[in-house]
């Protein structure tokens, strides 16, 4: 049985061309970029070439790219590093209520050390209204962080508009965006967005895991969170992970070249999946925005059934997907994103996400459209909630 992998938001396969680019740096090109000898300089050149590739993907200059080991680390560096560097100017942060845990928990940690934060709500589609961000700004606001796109519901946020509001109402505040779910999959330009910092992660655009970066606009200061040597301009200590960095650089170049074609193809497949499932299954709802949406992302809440049971049922049939129901999380917590969007607990338990990778074909999507409805039907037939629903609707 051919497996159909639809869990891009958890992990994507590495492009074979990326693996090839990385291979020499796991072999005889093992030098440390900080070494003066030619073995070191070979590695240093490769790192700088990768930095150019990543910078080009987001319209930055190479010096503005700081390599990190994860999107989580990039977010921590941005939130804590920028807040701490501006402590003298104020202590207030503004973030959306649907940020990734690496942003929300970094903010919580700052709150324990004298900072204050305002969480901005979202609408029913997971969209952050720039006017709501404006309302949350205070004279002492030093940092605003709103994600570029949400990985649980796929909604693309209005970052450029939010930046304009912040510049107009709180000119002293910096703006960071967590673009981990978006970068490499939709066109992004840091100048057009106007942000001061942007996090991105290599694996989301078919680079290796453990490769990520923070864009930091020229002239902006941050307090390093990993203190050590002078790597990454003194902003992130630790010997460079050369294979990962090289892989991310290669993946960034490939993603930039494939962007338009890939985004168009993925959006069409995504819409085929969304249209097919909402037609063939009753009481299923798309979560997130139908139009301002990541090209690879289709997320749903299926009523009367629970997400983990759907995942297991799909896995048996060879399909990998993900869910943010309470039972699928180790903490047994329902998704904070779905709750922030106003969904009730019972509906949020039916969370299911299909996130497409580049190699998915229309035939694969049709196969999912064939397999998934019976998985739901089987579970609904054992669900007391569905029985009650049928009774209520007179069936």
């Amino acid at each position: 049985m051919k497996r159909i992998y639809l869990d891009h938001i958890a992990a994507a396969p590495i492009d074979p061309a990326v693996t090839e680019a990385m291979r020499p740096f796991m072999g005889d090109r093992f030098g440390n970029p900080q070494s003066l000898h030619s073995d070191g300089q070979t590695a240093a050149e490769a790192v700088e070439e990768a930095r150019e590739g990543v910078a080009a993907l987001i319209g930055a200059v190479p010096d503005e790219v700081i390599f990190t080991a994860s999107g989580t680390e990039a977010n921590n560096l941005a939130i804590k590093g920028l807040a701490q560097a501006q402590k003298a100017k104020g202590n207030h942060l503004v973030v959306s209520s649907i940020e990734h845990a690496s942003v929300l928990n970094a903010v919580k940690s700052l709150e324990r050390s004298g900072f204050a934060a305002t969480l901005v709500p979202v609408d029913g589609e997971g969209w952050i209204d720039p006017a709501d961000v404006a309302k949350a700004l205070r004279p002492e606001t030093i940092l605003v962080s709103v994600m570029t796109a949400n990985s649980e519901v796929g909604t693309i946020e209005s970052v450029a508009e939010i930046v304009r509001e912040v510049r107009a109402k709180a000119p002293g505040a910096l703006v960071h965006t967590d673009a981990v779910a978006a970068a490499g999959n939709i066109p992004l330009d840091v100048k057009a967005l106007g942000v001061d910092a942007l996090s991105l992660s290599g694996n989301v655009f078919y680079g290796p895991k453990g490769s990520a970066a923070l864009f930091l606009k020229k002239g902006r200061k941050l307090v390093p969170q990993i203190e050590g040597g002078i790597q990454e301009g003194g902003r992130r200590g630790g010997s460079e992970d050369v294979p990962a960095i090289v892989g991310m650089g290669k993946a960034a170049r490939l993603a930039a070249a494939a962007m338009t074609e890939r985004a168009g193809r993925m959006s069409a497949l995504r819409d085929r999946l969304i249209g097919g499932l909402t037609r063939s299954i009753e009481r299923v709802r798309l979560t997130g925005s139908p139009d301002r949406r990541l090209p690879y992302h289709a997320s749903f809440c299926v009523e009367f059934v629970e997400g983990e049971a759907m995942l297991l049922g799909l896995d048996f049939k060879g399909i990998a997907a993900s869910s943010f129901s309470a039972c699928t999380s180790k903490s047994l917590k329902v998704s904070h994103v779905l709750l922030a969007m106003g969904l009730d607990h019972a509906l949020a338990q039916g969370s299911l996400i299909f996130s497409l990778i580049d190699t998915i074909s229309a035939e694969d999507i049709d196969r999912v459209l064939e397999i998934f409805p019976p998985v739901v039907e089987r579970l609904r037939n054992m669900s007391p909630l569905y029985t009650a629903y049928l009774k209520e609707s007179g069936r």
Partner: protein, 196 residues
Amino acid sequence: MIYSDKVMDHFQNPRNVGTLPDADGVGQVGNPVCGDMMTFYVKVKDDRLTDVKFQTFGCGAAIAVSSMVTEMALGKTVAEAMEITNEKVAEELGGLPKNKMHCSNLGADALHAALENYQARKAGTAAGPNIVGDHDHEAAEGAPERCPYCDGPVDNSPEMCSCRKCDLDLVECGHCHLYTNKAETNCTHCGAQLER
């Protein structure tokens, strides 16, 4: 796979799914807020369970547990069936992941609710089903030893309960007495609002 083969077998091929329109006892536990809800139907003849059916909304573990309980209960006397415990069910299934032991392992409770309903109907004290509507939580004694989020060690003091590993402050739910991240507004185990 996080589950044993036996759990997966019961999930894939659940035994005794359905309802019994002429049931002698009906019991329901849990609620969709927790993520798991189970309804059990029993037929009793000469003090023995001649038929047991279930319906479950919940994760793989909850479905497997329900199915296993019906197998364990069928043919037993009412008194014997009352002795089936959640722990025995988990054992019979080859174990369950730690974080599933509490929320999803409610099958025996649901069976007992149905049996109590049968006894109440026989005594003429009940006509409809026995809806417990919520977990019958075992009252937690004092603060937890392990963090409910990461299973890490917990620091306890009279004022403060916090996880050493994930650095969360934990607070006791007044309703189910389990511990939740202090930052939450509702208990993650039973959904009740946390008192401030």
